[in-house]
Every structure is written in structure tokens, then in C-alpha cells.
Amino acid sequence: MMFETLSHLALQQYWWIIISLLGSLLIFLMFVQGGQTLFYTLGKNEEERDLLVNSLGRKWEFTFTTLVTFGGAFFASFPLFYATSFGGAYWVWIIILFAFVLQAVSYEFRTKAGNLLGQRVYESFLLLNGVLGTILLGIAVGTFFTGSEFSLTAMNQVEWQGPARGLEAALNVQNLALGISIFFLARLLALLYFINNIDNDQVQNRARRQLIVNAIPFLAFFLFFLIRLLFLKGFDYNRSTGQVTLEAYKYLHNLIQMPVVLILLLIGVLGVLWGLASGIFTKSVKGIWWAGAGTVLTVMALFLTAGFNHTAFYPSTFDLQSSLTIENASSSHFTLTVMSYVSLMVPFVVAYIWYTWRMMNRTKISTEELNNEEHAY
């Protein structure tokens, strides 16, 4: 296939699929953030907590790198979103980023002599990253459906309404429900990951018990979000004029009109449930793969619902016509073509990540190993 022969719209759709894929991988990989909120729930002594920290310490960079790549890819393919959302919803993004800055040093510095702030402070940084990172990112993604109050000038500069600079999105129940769902989902994925990766019976047993405790609020908030979404008014745009209008049951219509997306969503949700059930009711350690794949499919379906079928993916409730769509927010045909060739590297990247992950996770992590490990956190 030669990308330059594709229409601008086809490239825009292709890139929205890539953004959706990166976003969904990011949410899956946020099991690291979820795990960071569980150190003291699952680890009852230093030895157990060391196991938990080191188990995640070998994976956190994947999440981090995915976030950075997600940002970069969004910038390259839909620069108007990058400029509008980051420059507009300033405080939401700054707080998310700040939480990730703190995370990046915390594993390496946690138990090192001379670390200035002490072990507990670095652990609290990880907790902060786990709580704020998941909830705020969920809230930010929630605005893809609920909209924000901004307008664009003739030169496409964003003017944000209201002083909270994006934090006001937390007051919307729909956004909040998604934020809290992602928080609990990340914890569930972390529990399944620990079950898969840690060689310690006590930790395993506690993790399985915690699955039930966290599954209940996750399901409550997620189903609330999903069902309410079907009843929401959505932001439709006219392909030829670009005119944005409100449409009742827009997202329900999107799912019906795009059956593939609906199927993705259903399989995804089932995958997550299957993974949880296998962790709760059986001794299987494979729950993470079911729930992980399920998460990826579910989140992808949500992104596709937000941006496909002539839907504005970053709507403005203040000025409907300032809403961003994959057509008006994208890069030029040329840039998308170049980037599409670059995207051919993605399967290769995924392959080597997969290969090295398998190699590193062949044996579980144990206290004995940590005792002999030169590089432990």
C-alpha cells in the first residue's frame, strides 16, 4: 500500500485508529499506576513491599514511554488538539505531568543511600502518581464525550473559558465516573499482574482477595459511565460544511452505525470480566492477559466512538463550531503520509517489546532473586 494515494480523510482515520491504539495501550499499562496504590494493602512487611515495588519497577518505563509517544503522536497527527487541549486545560495536564515527573525518579531513588527525602516520601510520590495519574487522565478523556468550554480565534488560538483551566471537568459526573473507573481498573490490572509475576503466597492470596474488593466499585462506576454515555447528547458534524450540531443519543447511534466498534466494545468488556473471574474464582495466573487485552479493546472502542462516524472528538460546549474533529484538527496530507510510513515501525516495536517482556518474565520475581540482584529498587 502506498499511503500517498490515500485520501486525506482516510489518513485522518488511520491516524485516529493509531491514537486510539496508543491510548488503549496506555490505559492497560497503567496497571503500574494502579499497583503503586497497593503497596501497603498487599505488602505487610518491607520484604513484601520490596517485591511489589521491584515487580513494577521493571515495567514502569513502558507506561511512561507510551504516554510520551501518545503525546508525540497526537501532536504530529492532530496538532490542533495538542495546542487546544494542552494550552487550554492547562492545570489538568500540568498536574498529570507533574505526577509523572515524580514517578520517574521514585523507583531508582527509593532505597538508595543519600536520597535526601527518605523512602516514605518516594513511596508517597508513587502513590500520588497512581491516584492522580489514573483519575485525571480518565477525567481528561471523559471530556472527549462531554466537551469543554473553549473557543478558537480565526488564527486557531485557544481561548479557554473559566479560571480552573480544565480542572472544572472534574465536576462533571460523567468525567468523574470515567476517572474513578480507570483508577479501579488500573488497580485490578495491577492485582492480576502481581498474581502473574510475584512468587510469594501471602501476596498472591491478598491480591486475589483484593480483586473482589476493587471489582465492585470498578463495575459500578464503569457501567454508570457506559450506560449514561448511551443516553448523552453528542457532537455531530456535517462532512461537507463542517457545521457541528448536538444530536440526541449520538454515541448510541455511533455504536449501532459502527457494528465493528460495538463488537470490539462487547468483546473487550467480556475480556476484562473473564480475566477478573479467572483471578477470583480459579488459581489461574493468566487473568492479566484476558483483562489486559479486554482493556485495550474496550478503550479503543471508546476512542473510536468519540472520533469516528462524523463525531467531534474534542467538543466545545461554549462554542460548538470551535469543536475539534479528526478532519479540522489534523496535520496536512503530506505530514500524515510521512507519519504513516513511520507507523509501519510500530509492529516491529511491539514485537521486540513482546519478545523481551517474555524473556524477562519467564520466571517470577522472588525475594531470593532480589537479594542477589545488583540493581534493586
Partner: protein, 521 residues
């Protein structure tokens, strides 16, 4: 047409970017260089099977890990800051600028982060050879990430491979290879990574010198010094070579920066290079009395800039007031032309709103005219602000940064040559004066790094994109208080983390290469 400018936002946004970039750059050069040194050491281990090499590799790898973490922490903010604080910029150039950032993530960061995990934790989980390959891939990945971000930076200093599209009101890419292989980008990349190698070599020599002074870890230290001295000498020569290339590019595309670097006000043929100088006050400088004291190399500036001893080098006065003989336009004329280009864009938007298709087509055609591009749109950025002084960078800061950087660069060559000589002669441990000097040279390596960035970035002010977009038109529409708050938030956090990093590093160095064998902590 002139919009209200909130200078507090512009200034605080600039301070924030400077702060975060300078902090990031404290840690990155060591990653860039040390990764190659470690890879070389581990190759020796795999080749010879000598456990001493493994010990060596693991010791430096431990220090690498401490430094790597904080490099990552200070890096993420830079990427997103383009959006949060420079959103008008992000829209204007997103079509070009986003691509290298995305490629950096896909191509380099994943390589780096995937294999760094194997490098740190894989000693007992993967084969020796695969571990070695991973270490090399970390070095390649980290240096590739430098490539892409510097391609992006190079494009800001010399926009190429793009065209302005009035319909979207932004620059759009038309040739990817022009962006990637722009001579500014290529020089900048090579110059920057070479300087990173120099810093890493000085780091290795500095730490090893401390061991020798303490009479500890002698074998480790001696081997490390030899490797670092060779690596450092080659790299420092490359720094000079690529620095020369950069200067020639600057002379071509950013003459104002070059004039500021040299504190040159009155342009002349056969211009002298100020080797050591103290600048006069601004008013005296403008009247041609540039320095209180100066030691000059005759005609060397002309040679540095153009490779010819008698070439004309324009000074700040020429570039400000114009010089008809050299066909240099005054800034006031550039402002006039820039405004005309901007007015045309406004007319275009108005015609679009009015549905006047004929007018729209006419203006579009005008934007495509070569004459308009070369003589009007080229000065688009000057149309945003009327004050001539705004288009002149801070001369003393640029001048002194440049001179500190260059002086140190030449000093490092001598330093490496001397250490290599002592190493070959096998007399290193006895040269205690020079070992002590190595300790004092390490901070100078960091100083050279930072002054290099200050030269490059302060020297190009006020441009975020040379001649097309000034800082006043690049910032987000946000209240100054928010930016001020995030500035202090990052200042406090990065300072605390940097202190922690140095503390951990010093403890780890003091501990030396001893391995665990028992306790967890």
C-alpha cells in the same frame, strides 16, 4: 492589528522553558556518552570473559541508572510544555514539529526503555550476548532520541522543507528530507552528542581520579581513565569540528546571533575574533566602543563565519539599522514587510468569512508567489511587534556564554591529551596534581554544556521560529499567575530531585565497585 501582549506571560513562559531545559540538560549528556563507554566495557567483558571488565561495567552502569532516572523525569515536561505553554507555536508548526517528536517516541524511546530494563535486570535472565546487544541498543536508542529532538530544534533555527498555508494559518511540511537533513540540524546533532561524549568522559575520569587519590579501586580507575581519555579526545576534536560547522551555519541563517555571540556592533571586512574580552555598557557598545578590554585574533571571525579572511561580517548595528552596501535591510523595514504579510493573512480570513471566492483565490496566489515569499512572508514574524529593540537578543549573556563554552572546549582537548599521555606512560597514579585537577574539571564540563545551550537559545531570541514566529506570538493565552506557579513548582521539585541525585551519586561512588553478596539494601 497589534494584539495586546501580556509580557508577564511571555517572560514567565520563557523562564519556565529555560529552567526545565537547562535542568534536563544537566543529566542528558551523561546518558548520551556513558552509554557508549559502558557498551564498550561490556564488549570487552564478553570478548575476554575477564570478570574485572564485568565489575567495571556494572559499576558505571549503576551510576548510569541513577542519572538516567532523573533525565527521564525532567524530560517529559519539555515535550508537553510545547502544548501547555506554547500552544500558539504548537499550532503554527505542529504540522512539522510534531513529526520528529512522534518519531522520537516510536523509534528511540521504546528502544531505550525496553532494553534499559534488560541492561539493569537481565544479567541473570538473558544470555551474555543478548545482554550485550541490549546495552548497545540503549546507547543507540538514547542517541537516536537526541537526533530527533535536535532535528526539531534545528528546524526552529532554520525553517526548511515547509510552506505557509493561509487557509490553515500555519506552516506545512512539503519535504521531510529537507527537515531531517537540514545542515543546521545535522551540525547541531553532531555537535551536541559529541559534547555529551566529552562530558561523560570527564565524568569517568573525574570519578576515577578520586579513586586514585584515595588509593582505592586502582585497576578499575586506570582502565576507565584510559578508555575515557581516548573517547574524550576524539569527541572533543569532533566538538571543535562540528562547532565550526555550526558557526558557519549561524553566520548564514542567524547573523544576529553570530553578532551577539561576538559582541560585534559595527560590521567589517576581515573581522577579528575576540578571544578574551570584557564588554562595555550597552550605549558605549552601540557607539562602536565594544569592549573595556579585549584580546583579538585578527580576521579570525571572518574566517570562522565564512571560511574567508576578508569576508564582511555584519554587526548588530548593521542588522538593526540596515546596511545598503551589504544589502541588509533595517529591522524597521522588516517590520513593515512582516506587517504587510500579516495584513494579507487577515484580508484572506475576511474574504473567506465574506464568501468572496475571487479575493480568496487572489490572495492564495499571492502567498504562492516567489517574490512575496522571499521579500515579504520571509519577515512574517517581524509583523507581530513594533519595537526594534525586541529583535536584538541579550548580548552579554550570549557573548559570555559563547566564550566560556569555546574556551572550555579547547581546554578539554589539552586535558584529554595529557591524561592519555599519562595513561600510556603508566604514571597516572603518581600525577596527583593532575588527578586533583580532574575533580575540578568535572563541574566545568557541566558549565560548558549549559553555556552551549544558552548561546544557542538566548542568541536566537526573540524567535521561536527564525524570522517567522517570535515568542510574543507563540505563548498560550493563559494568566501569568498560572505560569509563575508552575515555574516555582518545577524549580522547587527539580532542585530537590537534583540534590537527591547528587547525594545518591556520591554515596554510590564512595561505595565503589563492591557487589552485594547478601543484604538487600
Amino acid at each position: 492589528m497589534m494584539q495586546h501582549i501580556d509580557w508577564a506571560v511571555v517572560d514567565w513562559s520563557r523562564w519556565q522553558f529555560a529552567l526545565t531545559a537547562l535542568y534536563h540538560w544537566l543529566f542528558v549528556p551523561l546518558t548520551l556518552g556513558l552509554s557508549w563507554i559502558i557498551a564498550f566495557m561490556e564488549s570487552n567483558y564478553v570478548r575476554t570473559g575477564d570478570p574485572e571488565w564485568k565489575k567495571l561495567t556494572q559499576f558505571w552502569m549503576k551510576l548510569f541508572g541513577i542519572n538516567f532516572a532523573i533525565g527521564v523525569a525532567t524530560g517529559i515536561i519539555l515535550e508537553f510544555e510545547f502544548g501547555t505553554n506554547w500552544s500558539s507555536y504548537s499550532w503554527f508548526v505542529g504540522d512539522i514539529f510534531g513529526a520528529p517528536l512522534a518519531i522520537e517516541g516510536i523509534m528511540a524511546f521504546f528502544l531505550e526503555s525496553t532494553f534499559v530494563a534488560i541492561m539493569f535486570f537481565g544479567w541473570n535472565r538473558v544470555s551474555k550476548k543478548f545482554h550485550l546487544v541490549s546495552t548497545w541498543l540503549v546507547a543507540i536508542g538514547s542517541n537516536l532520541s537526541a537526533l530527533w529532538i535536535l532535528v526539531a530544534n534545528g528546524w526552529m533555527q532554520m525553517p526548511s522543507g515547509t510552506v505557509f498555508n493561509p487557509e490553515t494559518a500555519r506552516s506545512e511540511m512539503i519535504n521531510f528530507w529537507d527537515v531531517l537533513f537540514s545542515p543546521v540540524a545535522v551540525n547541531k546533532f553532531l555537535h551536541t552528542i559529541s559534547s555529551g561524549f566529552v562530558l561523560a568522559a570527564l565524568f569517568v575520569i573525574g570519578v576515577s581520579a578520586w579513586f586514585l587519590l584515595k588509593k582505592r579501586e586502582q585497576r578499575l580507575a586506570l582502565r576507565s581513565i584510559t578508555i575515557a581519555a581516548v573517547f574524550g579526545l576524539l569527541a572533543s576534536l569532533s566538538v571543535v569540528f562540528t562547532g565550526d560547522g555550526s558557526a558557519k551555519q549561524i553566520a548564514k541563517v542567524q547573523p544576529m546571533k553570530l553578532a551577539a555571540m561576538e559582541g560585534l556592533y559595527k560590521g567589517t571586512e576581515g573581522a577579528n575574533l575576540k578571544a578574551i574580552a570584557i564588554l562595555n555598557s550597552k550605549s558605549k557598545r552601540e557607539n562602536g566602543d565594544e569592549c573595556i578590554f579585549q584580546l583579538e585574533l585578527p580576521k579570525m571571525l571572518s574566517w570562522l563565519a565564512f571560511g574567508k579572511f576578508n569576508e564582511f561580517v555584519p554587526g548588530i548595528n548593521d542588522l538593526t539599522n540596515g546596511n545598503p552596501k551589504q544589502r541588509i535591510l533595517p529591522i524597521s523595514e522588516k517590520i513593515r514587510r512582516g506587517k504587510e504579510a500579516r495584513q494579507l493573512l487577515t484580508d484572506f480570513k475576511n474574504a473567506q468569512d465574506a464568501g468572496d471566492t475571487e479575493q480568496v483565490e487572489q490572495i492564495k496566489a499571492r502567498f504562492r508567489e516567489q517574490n512575496f515569499k522571499d521579500h515579504y512572508f520571509r519577515y512574517f514574524g517581524y509583523g507581530f511587534y513594533d519595537e526594534v529593540d525586541y529583535y536584538i537578543p541579550n548580548v552579554p549573556v550570549t557573548f559570555y556564554s559563547f566564550h566560556i563554552m569555546v574556551t572550555l572546549g579547547f581546554y578539554f582537548i589539552l586535558f584529554f591529551a595529557l591524561f592519555l599521555f599519562f595513561s600510556i606512560r603508566g604514571v597516572m597514579p603518581k600525577r596527583r596534581f593532575w588527578l586533583r585537577l580532574a575533580l575540578f574539571t568535572l563541574p566545568l564540563a557541566y558549565l560548558a554544556q549549559e553555556t552551549g545551550w544558552i548561546t544557542a537559545e538566548v542568541g536566537r531570541q526573540p524567535w521561536t521560529i527564525q524570522d517567522l514566529l517570535p515568542t510574543v506570538a507563540s505563548v498560550s493565552k493563559i494568566d501569568a499567575g498560572s505560569v509563575q506557579l508552575t515555574f516555582w513548582l518545577f524549580a522547587a521539585t527539580f532542585t530537590a530531585l537534583a540534590i537527591a541525585e547528587v547525594g545518591i551519586m556520591l554515596k554510590a561512588i564512595k561505595k565503589g565497585s563492591e557487589t552485594k553478596g547478601g543484604g538487600t539494601k
